[in-house]
């Protein structure tokens, strides 16, 4: 059992299959013509094309960030396919969806059709950049909620999109966000009008399918005064041998008294045991608590990707607004994660809470990077941060990089951090009661992550628990 801690993580990726669907694919590379192609394929208005081109021109002047604590070969942005879509079909019902696609969802365990209805989840399915089916749209429309693909929103609700798109993550925000703004092919749009509580959790399942197709999703969620919504994002990807770039942008806007809860379970392909072929995940997620008494809560369970670079953040502009970040990041084998959050307190009496749980196994490296910034006008701002790391085996690494900037004397900022290790003595204690190492680790991990899992919607929490167990199987044995 002395090697017990070495091997619990070696299980082949469960969702490693490719669905043979005919894709309409643009040539590799990026230039203004490709952007025009994307825009015209999407039948976008002129202002949208200009928006993209401006971002692209800005991107050309930018440098890829070098500060994250991750290492990877330089990405050749001209060797990426920026547009790939299943052949367009008019779908009137779910019966018309490509059966091959449905089987794919079946394999992934995505609750669609009746399963979606039973689960009470409306699924806006993203399949390689284009929304194939949007369910429940009508039921949501009855209460005035718009839930559709971002492309459709650009065409059908241009005023809303134009009013909010790029207001939280500006086109020039960072290297990957600018790239995304130039070439995003799809994503979700969600609008909850004044006073409406969304009657169900809204859910999008992402899945990368075509080899070497970059994925540039764009999500925009707006909750008007007094509105509330819980949004679920789940990811899984098939096994490929070449690295895949994923650079999504998610923008959330909460007006007075609005509440947005955004939950993610991320399980992109992480590469094989030597780290080949995994997804590069460079994501910009940010929420703006624009109105007074608004609240934005991010919950993420990050288990996949070769590289994760992701900082779901909150800008607390409105008085008494609240930002929350609950995160579990698990890395194994050669995975690298540099993830955390930024809480920017601008308004008075704003509060934020950060609970981050990092788990490192194998030879992986897991970094928490967080910024808490209290602006000069943020009277009585409060922040509480808790960053816990857990190491499995002797070759994994964990780092915590907390940045705290306080420009107002009335602020109260607390930071707590712990590092623990699953020790052989703990595993032996379980064993002496008849409990094997895999079950023991699963139990310890679930205990470690409980504060975060409690924030997830029930079914997601169950899924996340299973996922972590699956990810760590074989890491001890």
């Amino acid at each position: 059992m002395s090697t017990v801690l070495e091997n619990l993580v070696n299980r082949p990726y469960k969702h490693g299959f490719v669905t043979p669907i005919e894709a309409e694919t643009a040539p590799k590379g990026l230039n203004e013509d490709i952007i025009r192609l994307i825009s015209s394929k999407k039948k976008e208005p002129e202002w949208m094309l200009e928006f993209r081109l401006n971002a692209y021109r800005h991107w050309l002047t930018m440098e890829e960030p070098a500060w994250p604590n991750v290492k990877y070969p330089k990405i050749d942005f001209q060797n990426i396919i920026y547009f790939s879509a299943p052949k367009p079909k008019k779908l009137k019902s779910m019966d018309e969806v490509d059966p091959e696609l449905l089987r794919t969802f079946e394999k992934l365990g995505v609750p669609m059709n009746e399963r979606a209805a039973l689960a009470g989840v409306a699924v806006d399915v993203i399949f390689d950049s284009v929304s194939v089916a949007t369910t429940y749209k009508e039921r949501l429309a009855e209460v005035g909620i718009i839930f559709c693909s971002i492309s459709e929103a650009v065409r059908e609700h241009p005023d809303l999109v134009r009013k909010y798109l790029g207001t939280v993550v500006p086109p020039g925000d960072n290297f990957y966000a600018s790239l995304n703004t130039a070439v995003f092919t799809d994503g979700s749009f969600c609008f909850i009008p004044k006073g409406v509580k969304c009657p169900m959790d809204l859910s999008t399942y992402f899945r990368i399918n075509t080899a070497e197709s970059g994925q540039f999703e764009r999500t925009l969620i707006i909750a008007e005064e007094g509105a509330s919504v819980s949004y679920l994002e789940g990811c899984t990807a098939p096994q490929f041998d070449s690295n895949q770039l994923h650079a999504a942008v998610v923008e959330l806007v909460a007006l007075d008294g609005a509440e947005i809860k955004y939950s993610t379970v991320q399980n992109w392909y992480a590469g094989d045991e030597s780290g080949r072929g995994g997804i590069y995940n460079f994501v910009t997620k940010r929420g703006l608590c624009k109105g007074a008494n608004s609240k934005i809560s991010w919950t993420q369970v990050e288990t996949g990707s070769a590289i994760t670079w992701k900082y779901p953040s909150c800008v607390l502009l409105g008085e008494n607004s609240i930002g929350e970040f609950y995160s579990v990041a698990l890395t194994n084998h050669m995975q690298q994660a540099d993830t955390g959050t930024k809480m920017t307190h601008i308004g008075r009496n704003t509060r934020s809470r950060i609970v981050s749980k990092g788990i490192s196994a194998g030879k992986s490296n897991n970094s928490y990077r967080g910024l808490v910034k209290i602006g000069p006008k943020a009277e009585n701002a409060r922040n509480y941060s808790q960053c816990d790391s857990m190491l499995i085996g002797a070759k994994s690494g964990a780092n915590t990089f907390p940045y705290i900037q306080v420009h107002n004397n009335s602020a109260k900022v607390e930071h707590e951090a712990t590092t623990s290790k699953i020790g052989e003595d703990q595993l032996f204690y379980f064993a002496s009661r008849g409990i094997g190492p895999e079950e023991a680790i699963s139990m310890i991990i679930n205990g470690f992550c409980r504060d975060v899992f409690q924030q997830l919607p029930m079914e997601f929490a169950v899924e996340a628990t299973k996922l972590l167990g699956l990810k760590l199987e074989g890491s001890v044995g």
Partner: protein
């Protein structure tokens, strides 16, 4: 209680155990039959705890020679968790803290694992809650234990009570208690004794590793073994413990 023809549960022959490359147990022989209580005594460093840990398969304790047969099977061919499922139990001298894991969930998983190994019914959380609370009441253990993490922040005495609770729940065939009595006040000692006496049937057996005769006022052993230098030097009845109490260990060493 010693009975003629009682089934042999444990047969240790010529056992040598190394820890960190150093041989601590240097040829142990011991036979435990169903229904018996054995006390293993001896000064610090005599190899008592090493023997106990080697039995249950702690990875740092390597058996380098000799044999241990448990219920007719080669014990060292079994993984630690298999030994536990086969009814071997160790009460730890220093129970391990497992922060974040709820004690009630841990106890239930351990219990259900044992039940499954015996082909018996597993209990759901509600059923288990009733079951465990009844046991706790019987043993006079604070039900607040259930809401805490496994041994996390427990006092020394609370940890030992938690060990006894686990023993009572798992109903082992052979329980080895490694200095479970050390550092306990009189009340906790009664809990330990109550747990052991409540466990014992003609089908199972208990091995108590202890420094002191004190515990043996509450649990009457059938055999007392005195260890030193990694071996059992002398075996006697319960009166041997009293003799040790008054005379110390040196006279045994001198005699051997």
């Amino acid at each position: 209680m010693i009975r003629d023809g009682a089934k042999v549960l444990l047969e240790v022959r010529g056992l040598r155990v190394k820890v960190g490359g150093v041989e601590i147990c240097k040829g142990m022989d011991l036979t435990v039959r169903a229904g018996e209580i054995h006390a293993i005594m001896g000064p610090n460093g005599s190899g008592k705890s090493t023997f106990a840990k080697a039995l249950v398969g702690h990875p740092a304790y390597e058996a380098v020679a000799g044999s241990v047969v448990y219920e007719g099977k080669d014990l060292f061919a079994m993984e630690p968790e298999e030994r536990a499922r086969a009814g071997l139990f160790l009460g730890f001298q220093y129970p391990v803290e497992i922060p974040g894991v709820s004690n009630s969930a841990f106890l239930r998983l351990a219990y259900n694992t044992q039940q499954a190994a015996r082909g018996a019914d597993e209990l759901d959380p509600l059923e288990f809650d009733d079951y465990v609370r009844a046991k706790m009441k019987l043993l006079d253990i604070d039900p607040g234990f259930l809401d805490r993490s496994v041994n996390d922040g427990f006092s020394g005495g609370e940890k030992k009570r938690n060990e006894i609770l686990q023993m009572a729940l798992l109903e082992p065939r052979l329980a080895v208690l490694d200095e479970t009595d050390s550092g306990l006040d009189i009340d906790a000692l009664r809990v330990v004794a109550g747990g052991v006496n409540g466990l014992l049937t003609p089908e199972n057996a208990v091995v108590l590793v202890t420094h002191y005769q004190r515990l043996l006022n509450y649990i009457i052993p059938d055999y007392v073994h005195v260890m030193d230098g990694g071996r059992i030097l002398r075996t006697g009845g319960k009166e041997l413990a009293l003799e040790l109490e008054s005379r110390g260990y040196d006279w045994i060493k001198a005699a051997a």
